[in-house]
Symmetry: D3
């Protein structure tokens, strides 16, 4: 089975790392198509960046299905464009934010999220409320490292995340940690070892959920808001 | 004061009617700039249409501010792109959905919403939850008349809405009605007379809220998710 | 249009200042009738004070309508007697607490409230829950300055409120501040300048909401709890 | 021990019947002081009636304590003036609405409330939310019989309540019934026999809760909103 | 009347103390049958201990009814096996956790719970949510003293609880304290004197609630989840 | 990898069918150990049955781990004993109820559950609340067919479920259906074809979630309520 893992920003290096993280956990028969749009922002940090990334994301979903993809992962922790993606895709779509929230709920009573920038907290909290898991989340924290600086040793992202985990365990009574950015996947294993609690990366979670839905023959419902879009012309797109 | 009332779809006739409804309730010193983008769908019915309308909406907000607008109304009941609009605008932004929900909360314990298509109910319910007013809303109902057919006498939109109002008063114990589409404004007055309960059109509500915020010297907070966007290039836009 | 702004306590000096704050933001055609009852307490600080203020408040609403008022503001942050006032009034009624909460919700994801005395926090929290906006409020704080001491320089109310704002921004992640007493209106502008976030005074918010409802031709629903009272004799009143 | 059971309306015949219902379930050592104010309305049906009943209610609480009462029941299902009563009383205060809701929660997963008039539903729902028990209540229903007509055979109140119970069991999936008016106590036993589910009268529930608090040596907390009122003059009272 | 107070653990000394606490607050006509199962754990600290205590608890309920008990108290703060106990018992059943939560709600807007071990917090929070009283509880705290060490002077349980009460009043804005273990009953009175706020022990609360239900002739509803169990063989029991 | 799929009732024929359903969707490298305890009830229908099934369930978990199982599915829709199982197991544990709820949340805005007996609805609703997904569930319905009669053609379980699905789509606005009993797995595919919406069987969902957690190297958190049980003797077990 082919699964499209779509990084909605335009940074190919990040897409490559996300693809590797996805392939590393995929089942032996799963081929990961790691893609990113060519339109939109280089990173998604706030509501405006989300807006300009989604048309490209939807195009990549269509393109991936033409290439045989039977499921899609939206590899941005804000679950950017998730509902629209469900409408256009012929196969299931899972966002890495929701994937991590649901998986964490199977392991712990409460989890805290650690994301990049303060400005992204509001959107994540809105998502938790929308999914119904807001009571399961003790707190959303930010390390104030920009998405594209996560790899920069000078920023010491791993160290800052570790500090926030320590605070989350002590202050939030968190029992598990959800990493709030697709670019943090590489840190998950060592942070889990250090902290002694589960540390979840949404990319891996989403891949396994898509594989699961696929194996079960399940697809998005068309009975409510995820109906196929009406045939329309989108002027300028 | 100039207020931009931006219909996020591309249908100029609808923009004109919305502009008239807005001007009719505006204060004597208020000039309504009724605008719509030239990109995106002709009507917004579901999550995908929302996606393609927002880049144009944001462009209109910027253009309106260049023209002197000191506040903005997003004239789509889904409050399409509301958060992103708050980030890019230098002045307050109010969506017609939230405007009607807040105003109805001042008049009635519970209200029901009557929108166009079944497929739009989910997004409206998500908004109610996001705003915190989900307990105030008894139910979201749909008349199954498309946005661009509201004016078509053959569809008898007014009659169908009246029937749903009757059902809402009896079955939902609604005390007020919120009309769930910018294109329904013209029906509000006669439906209120017929039903005996307040019937709210969001366009008018939003105009008065923007005038109010303006008079009070209040503007969007930049301390959380509505921070000004980081300087970025949006490839392809 | 005449709007009655009714301070439900008997302190005429406070009524005068509230009236000035109201007139300052009112539209050019709006005449503010600033009134207070002659019965009840000199300030409202807790549940018992509320009880003795409302009969006088309702009398003032009736008197103001006889004088031509077409809308009413209850100028006590507890929204004292709001539901009963809606029942007796022939025109819309807005409390300054709810007004500020709704307006703040248009500007910020989360706000904190800063009120006078600790004993008033519970009633404010109950109101937030009743309105549905409890998730929008990060915290209700008190400066422990009595209502009638807000003007006393020795109490340094402005300084204490500024300190609480600082704490609210840092500890509550508040994005806007709602001033929790009608007597704090004079501090709003300078606190906003100092803090850099919106600081809302409910008196101004309520005046603009009443003007808005009036312009839209909207009135309280009589279909639920706000029905006109049954004709009864109230012995002793 | 003396317990004051205060009917906040002025109808002495109703007070007498409430007192008998209270005495019937009281412990052998409990003396019920059934009282009503001489000011206020003859029955409480809606928000305005509540307002005019509370000053008299508070006076009766003070008078009953002077007569040795060591606990108080507010015998109106709206729990009229409950918070203020807690502030002025030196001993515990329980409302019959909250009493019935808490007791029903010990017997059933979900209950429905059956009250007198439609106009009273909103206040009851607000109370449920305030207490935190809104999820335990399946629905609040009204039989449209006025409080003072409950005893009038021509109104067949018992028959109408029985019909609503039938509907509640079938439509609301209610497992217990709470009678939503102090004047319905006489019907409880036969309705329970007919329906086969617990039917709770708040008067009895509240008496037993006050006896319980008294035996346990528990009293109202003064650490929050129920602080003793500040020493104030209430002009006109 | 006989009331069974069943300590679901096997520690007879604890049962004896619980029985004394229960008898101390019981009405003059009430005989307390303090019992414990002979199967299961010596103390209940976490989910697994709960599992092994309930079959014995249900056996004690049946035995107590054979001995004439007309009501049952489950004397473990987790309300272990409460729903199952309601199904098998012919008379009302109240858990000491729910008893204390409901009683505290009559005295204070918010309470904090102080329990033994951190590991027990999650189950208590789940119960609060199940009962609907989660908003009434400010926080659940643990003193990290094991159940069977509460009496050990070396552990200074009373001192540690007093410290947590101080923290709860200051940090949680708690207005009352609920002691979160049946073994803490002996500390309640002195802690209340020290702290100045109500301190509730669930054993006493539950006894008074059972006496109340009994006096009111109320019993568990059989219309929902508390139906009598179907006739089944439980292999191995 | 070996996954234990434990049917907590003692009916071996049902265990066999559950095991087949599990193996049918398992990955090629997954071996399903389908087990049931030898103690407890033949079917789980209500709170009491749950109690007597869990000690045997925990024994099977320990036995399965001795046999090499690296994950566990609790194959009863009530998620019987889930928290205790997480405490004793060294590997992840997923209940089929929670599995289906989380998976359905990835496919539909709202789902309805269709279970066997009315008496089981309350426990399922409590679980939804505990997991945080109560807003995602439109309604829990029962077909009134006992667990062990689901296979009996005379009961026409499939027909009755189909009727409830029709009702759920029309009355609840459900977009997906969750089958509320492990014994309904065989009906899922044809019901999905008939109804046109996703129909989820929890057994399959749970197997895929356990496979996913395993592939991701994730395990239950020991930081909160799921700590390993303290070393204790359980008398009689």
């Amino acid at each position: 089975m082919k699964i499209a893992v779509i990084n909605p920003n335009t940074t190919a290096a990040m897409t490559r790392r996300i693809g590797e993280a996805a392939q590393a956990v995929a089942a032996s028969g799963t081929q990961i198509l790691a893609r990113n749009p060519t339109t939109g922002p280089a990173s998604i940090e706030g509501y405006v960046d989300e807006i300009y990334s989604v048309p490209g994301l939807l195009a990549e979903i269509r393109r991936a299905e033409a290439d045989g993809a039977q499921g899609h992962v939206i590899a941005c922790f804000d679950d950017t464009g998730l509902e629209a993606a469900r409408c256009v895709a012929n196969h299931p779509v899972v966002g890495i934010g929701e994937a991590a929230f649901h998986m964490a709920s199977l392991l712990a009573g409460r989890f805290s999220v650690i994301t990049t920038l303060h400005r992204s907290i509001a959107a994540i909290e809105q998502n938790l409320l929308k999914y119904g898991l807001e009571r399961r989340c003790a707190r959303v924290r930010a390390v104030e490292v920009a998405v594209l600086e996560l790899e920069d040793p000078a920023c010491d992202a791993a160290g800052r995340i570790a500090d926030e985990i320590t605070a989350a365990l002590r202050e939030d009574r968190a029992e598990a940690i959800v990493l709030g950015c697709a670019g943090m996947a590489a840190f998950a294993a060592s942070l889990a070892r250090q902290s002694g609690v589960p540390v979840l990366d949404g990319v891996g979670c989403a891949v396994k959920l898509i594989e699961g839905l696929q194996a079960l023959g399940l697809n998005t419902s068309r009975a409510g808001g995820y109906q196929k879009p009406l045939p329309k012309i989108y002027a300028g797109f």
